[in-house]
């Protein structure tokens, strides 16, 4: 979908991969997609369902604790559904069951990022992505605008 505007040796991505050999695919990165149906349905109503492994537990905790003020919108849920989704995301986060420590690389333990797109590792992977592409997409949070397979956990260069 995207023209390759960057060098094919993506060091940051290699770092990400080296931290998780099991996730290594022939090309690109394969991460576990959301396996829980309630989470997938509720958290894909406004955007793609972000794989749980892309944020540490404390970030999911913070996001799930303030759904009424969710990036400029009210995304509130009933208490039971909220509890269910919180439990799934926290159990499958980068630093829990998802086991992707590279996600926290460069992140101070006192930082609780709310955006995947603003994680140091994700920023550095995308350092060379041109501003024209960013502008066209609008926000780096729209992973699936550039990575067609993002919702399935598939992140490839092109």
């Amino acid at each position: 979908m995207i023209r390759k505007t960057v060098s094919s040796t993506c060091l940051a991505a290699a770092l990400l991969l080296s931290a998780l050999p099991a996730a290594m695919a022939e090309e690109g990165v394969q991460l576990p997609p959301i396996a829980d149906k309630v989470t997938r349905t509720e958290c894909s109503a406004c955007h793609m369902a972000y794989p749980a492994v892309l944020l540490p537990k404390r970030s999911w905790h913070a996001i799930m604790s303030d759904l009424s003020n969710h990036f400029g919108e009210d995304a509130s849920l009933d208490a039971k559904t909220e509890q269910h989704i919180r439990a799934y995301l926290e159990a499958n986060a980068a630093d829990t069951g998802g086991r992707l420590p590279a996600i926290s690389r460069g992140l101070s333990p006192s930082d609780t990022p709310l955006r995947i797109s603003e994680l140091p590792i994700i920023r550095s992977i995308h350092e060379e992505v041109g501003s024209r592409w960013r502008k066209r997409v609008g926000s780096m949070g729209k992973c699936n605008a550039c990575h067609r397979g993002a919702e399935r956990g598939r992140f490839e260069e092109g």
């Binding site: 894909s44 109503a45 406004c46 955007h47 793609m48 009424s68 400029g72 919108e73 009210d74 995304a75 509130s76 849920l77 009933d78 609008g138 926000s139 949070g141 729209k142 605008a145």
Partner: protein, 133 residues
């Protein structure tokens, strides 16, 4: 024509995925909200609320039409770019057929746009409006 055939298949596929559990209907919900409000739903008031610009809510979403657009028989789009099926009942008969879904989105979207929940009277107005177009 081949093109039409493809389009028809696509439309059929979309309808199939948007049909929800269905424990209620627009008419039933309208009656319920009218009873709670003690007034009847007004399509004109519903139009004013739905297409008007409001100030009490979140800054990026001053109107229901920010996402649902002013062409309510057509598709809308979330701020993150996801397609929203049409709101007009004439274009999307599966609207207002699941009470939990209706409650969830009225709560969220009224808070997002108006900064408060909609009253039963306002909900009746919106349903009356979307049923009338």
């Amino acid at each position: 024509m081949k093109y039409r055939h493809v389009l028809a298949t696509l439309v059929a596929a979309t309808m199939a995925t948007t049909v929800v559990a269905g424990d209620t209907s627009p008419a039933q919900l309208l009656k319920k909200f009218e009873a709670q409000a003690g007034t009847s739903g007004s399509p004109e008031r519903g139009r004013a609320l739905f297409t008007g610009t409001h100030t009490g809510g979140k800054p990026d979403t001053p109107s229901c039409t920010t996402c649902h657009t002013t062409n309510l028989k057509g598709r809308g789009k979330t701020r993150a770019g996801k397609v929203i099926e049409p709101m007009a009942l004439s274009a999307n008969p599966s609207r207002f057929s699941d009470s939990a879904k209706v409650a969830k989105w009225f709560r969220r979207n009224c808070r997002t746009v108006l900064g408060r929940e909609c009253t039963p009277g306002e909900k009746a107005d919106v349903i009356a409006f979307l049923s009338s177009i």
